[in-house]
Amino acid sequence: MKVGERGVIEDISLEHIPLSLLEMGCLPGEYVELLQRAPLHDPLYIRVNGSHIAIRKETASQILISKV
């Protein structure tokens, strides 16, 4: 995914994702937009379900996204 692109969350690996990420609104069926990557390409700054949050790549890799 490139900066500025949007996608829909298809699936989340429930075993590897902490509850708090879901509680921030990161849920299957929601739109995600990659707003920015940190200068060293990690973490990622995203907007999902109205929340602006930053997460690490390893966490992001547990979220399956299809592009729109």
């Binding site: 429930l14 075993e15 509850l19 609104g25 940190a38 060293l40 990690d42 966490t59």
Partner: protein, 703 residues
């Protein structure tokens, strides 16, 4: 709270919703509104007049995104709301939401509502409703949420009266739950639980199973049942996810009917600022400039009021001595208490400036961007981007810094941050550095602009920070700690800091430091004075011994008096202690007088200057030499005949103070935060060894 009429109100809400502003409006008390999650750490209670007769006792609970806690601060929320016998168990809860992030805020509301406590939803920042193009159907929302909903603007004092009215009528609010989670997740499972706990609300039991490890209102048998349920961790996690997904579904449906946003007014400012502030070059550059500005102001701007304070207390000491009748009490005041208080007051300028910067950075939302920028780098050193905040706070004081590490969710990253933060140059080291630098480094300028003394100080900052990073790296490799690290941070909207909030933060933090650490400093100053003016047998015989030696001490009477005082100090309790450790510290270049200061510094570093002040004011009555600095500069090493505070000794001392763990208050807080004596002990010994070895090499190489 003895007042029976007071309605107990708990404020709950996400971070950055203006919950604390609302608390300020309701109670008139002021404290912090931060942009950094979990800034409201201490328990904050205030009183509000709801009407002429009714008073409410309002508690401002820590900001949290959910009732399922991930940090200690968030845990307080759950503990308060689950335990009916808790002092702050509320009659009514006010959930504070922010109009823009209402969906996420409603998740918390939905969880809270299921606790079956009367709950009011206060939607904050309502003054921006039109600017953001938002429409809300308030009546329908009230119906859907099965409770009272009030639009407020805490900063602009809108809707506060309405909220007070709603709180007054809390008894009429329904307590039915919003989401019936059991049916959606696994009906049979929850039915079984219900049959075992018929008298307790199902959601509460669910929270017991998922979150708590002790349950105040359950008997032994019930505790065992809960522990049995807890074992199936996989199932619990799956159900928690299901629960969250279901709650969001319900909220989405409610909002579809009641809430509309016309997306035209997108957040342009945020995007543009983010582009610059998190840019791969400008981002770091701006951060570096801000740090430089902070350090520059600590040393340069703060030195003016500090020199003034130093001089004032020296004068005061002389004044007390010359006006009060001679005696032990006068000596206690002029040589113990006055310099002791002076040693505390002198910190105020630096601490205030540091907290001013930290408060502004947090208020504006910039701090979250720094966390974002620094995460990858900090991870190499075993820490998280969130460790930046403790490391910066550490330049003020390690105590709030260790507490600020609570926001780091991974245990290993948090532990490493706690362990290395005391290496960062705190303001208690500054007076020590300042006085030694002034003694050994000439007041010259390099290349015409940089002051050599300033550069030395910068070097010491870098030394402390570098050691923190190196230790972090080593600990990262060495420590085998279980537990996955997880990183998640909200990037709040940028906003102008409220001057009022910043001002109160600075005042409160400075006050807390002065009265917290100040007590120790003052107490030790008095003890030191006592130890220096009393002693074993030889001390009491001093005057006799001196009378006999009278002929040997030639010169004027004033010289004789000074020599007597010096003799007395040498034979006082503290002199004996200083001499006892002299062999151990001699390789570092110190004499027994510095030994005295070192001993007293193990309570708190800043006492170094205070105890030297006490030591030298006992040993010297010359009115011309009233400031500590002058007295120290005049000190001669009796063996070599050279100045005692020469470059090798000074550098060795600087290095020792940079690395040694000399702060009882910090050790106490590390023990509390890590819940074991193991880590503070490791810290004390490890840092002590590093300090000793490093000082030894510094001294040996320079001499």
């Amino acid at each position: 709270m003895p007042d029976r009429k007071a309605i107990k109100v708990a404020l709950v809400g996400n971070p950055n919703t203006g919950k604390t502003s609302l608390f300020n409006q309701l109670t008139g008390l002021n404290q912090k509104v931060g942009n950094y999650p979990g800034i409201t750490v201490d328990k904050k209670v205030g009183r509000a007049h709801l009407s002429d007769q009714v008073i409410a006792s309002i508690v401002d609970l820590p900001g949290t995104y959910s009732i399922n806690p991930t940090t200690i601060d968030e845990n307080i929320v759950l503990q308060t709301l689950l335990d009916k016998r808790h002092d702050d168990f509320p009659d009514v809860i006010v959930v504070v939401a922010d109009i823009e992030n209402i969906k996420r805020n409603l998740l918390l509301y939905s969880q809270i509502k299921d606790l079956k406590i009367p709950t009011i939803l206060a939607i904050n920042m309502a003054d921006q409703i039109h600017r953001k193009g938002i429409e809300i159907d308030l009546d329908l929302l009230k119906m859907e949420l099965k409770s009272e909903v009030v639009l407020i603007s805490a900063r602009k004092n809108i809707g506060i009266e309405k909220l007070k009215q709603a709180i007054l009528k809390y008894k009429s609010l329904g307590t039915s739950s919003l989401a019936h989670i059991s049916q959606k997740i696994d009906e049979a499972y929850f039915k079984e639980i219900r049959s075992k706990f018929p008298d307790i609300s199902l959601y509460k039991i669910w929270l017991y199973i998922t979150q708590m490890d002790h349950y105040n209102d359950l008997d032994k048998e019930q505790t065992l049942i809960i522990d049995e349920y807890k074992k199936d961790k996989v199932k619990i996690k799956k159900y928690q996810h299901k629960e969250t997904i279901f709650r969001y579904q319900q909220i989405n449906e409610i909002l579809k009917k009641t809430y509309k946003v016309n997306k035209a007014s997108a957040t342009d400012l945020r995007t543009r600022l983010d582009k610059v502030l998190t840019h791969k070059i400008f981002g770091y550059l701006i951060f570096a400039i801000i740090l430089m500005l902070i350090f520059q102001s600590i040393f340069d701007w703060a030195s003016i009021p500090m020199d003034f304070i130093d001089a004032v207390f020296a004068d005061l000491s002389t004044l007390v001595k010359s006006t009060l009748p001679e005696g032990q009490l006068t000596n206690l005041i002029s040589e113990g208490i006055v310099p002791g208080i002076g040693g505390i007051v002198i910190f105020i300028p630096q601490i205030a400036i540091l907290f001013l910067f930290v408060a502004i950075l947090e208020e504006t939302g910039y701090m979250s961007r720094v966390v974002f920028l620094m995460d990858k780098i900090m991870r190499r050193f075993g820490m998280s981007g969130k460790s930046v905040v403790p490391l910066i706070s550490g330049t003020a004081c390690a105590i709030p810094a260790v507490m600020a590490a609570r926001n780091i969710s991974g245990w290993k990253e948090r532990l490493i941050t706690i362990l290395v933060v005391p290496f960062v140059t705190c303001s208690a080291r500054l007076p020590v550095y300042a006085i030694i630098i002034a003694l050994i480094i000439p007041q010259e300028r390099v290349l015409g602009i940089f002051s050599l003394q300033g550069l030395t100080l910068l070097g010491l900052y870098l030394l402390g920070f570098g050691m923190a990073m190196i230790s972090g790296y080593i600990l990262h490799k060495v420590l085998k700690v279980q537990g996955k690290s997880f990183f998640l941070i909200e990037m709040p909207d940028y906003k102008l800091p409220s001057l009022k909030n910043v001002f109160y933060t600075v005042v409160e933090k400075t006050k807390a430091f002065v009265f917290g650490a100040g007590k120790i400093i003052l107490a030790i100053s008095i003890i030191l004075w006592f130890l220096a003016s009393n002693g074993p047998a030889a001390f009491d015989e001093a005057e006799q011994v001196f009378e006999n030696q009278n002929d040997l001490v030639l010169g004027e009477p004033s010289n004789k008096e000074a020599a007597l005082a010096s003799y007395k100090l040498e034979h006082s309790y503290i002199g004996v202690m200083g001499k006892a450790i002299e062999p151990a510290i001699k390789p570092l270049g110190y004499d027994w007088k510095i030994g005295i200061a070192l001993i007293s510094s193990f309570a708190a570093r800043e006492v170094f200057v205070g105890s030297l002040a006490t030591i030298y004011s006992v040993g010297d009555d010359d009115e011309e030499n009233t400031t500590i600095k002058k007295r120290m500069a005049a000190e001669i090493n009796q063996e070599t005949g050279l100045k005692l505070f020469n470059v090798p000794v000074g550098m060795s001392l600087l290095v020792f103070y940079a690395f040694a763990m000399q702060c009882i208050s910090t050790l106490a807080i590390v023990k509390r935060e890590t819940n074991s004596w193991k880590w503070p002990v490791i810290q004390l010994i490890g840092m002590g060894l590093i300090a000793y070895v490093a000082s030894f090499f510094t001294y040996t190489l320079l001499i």
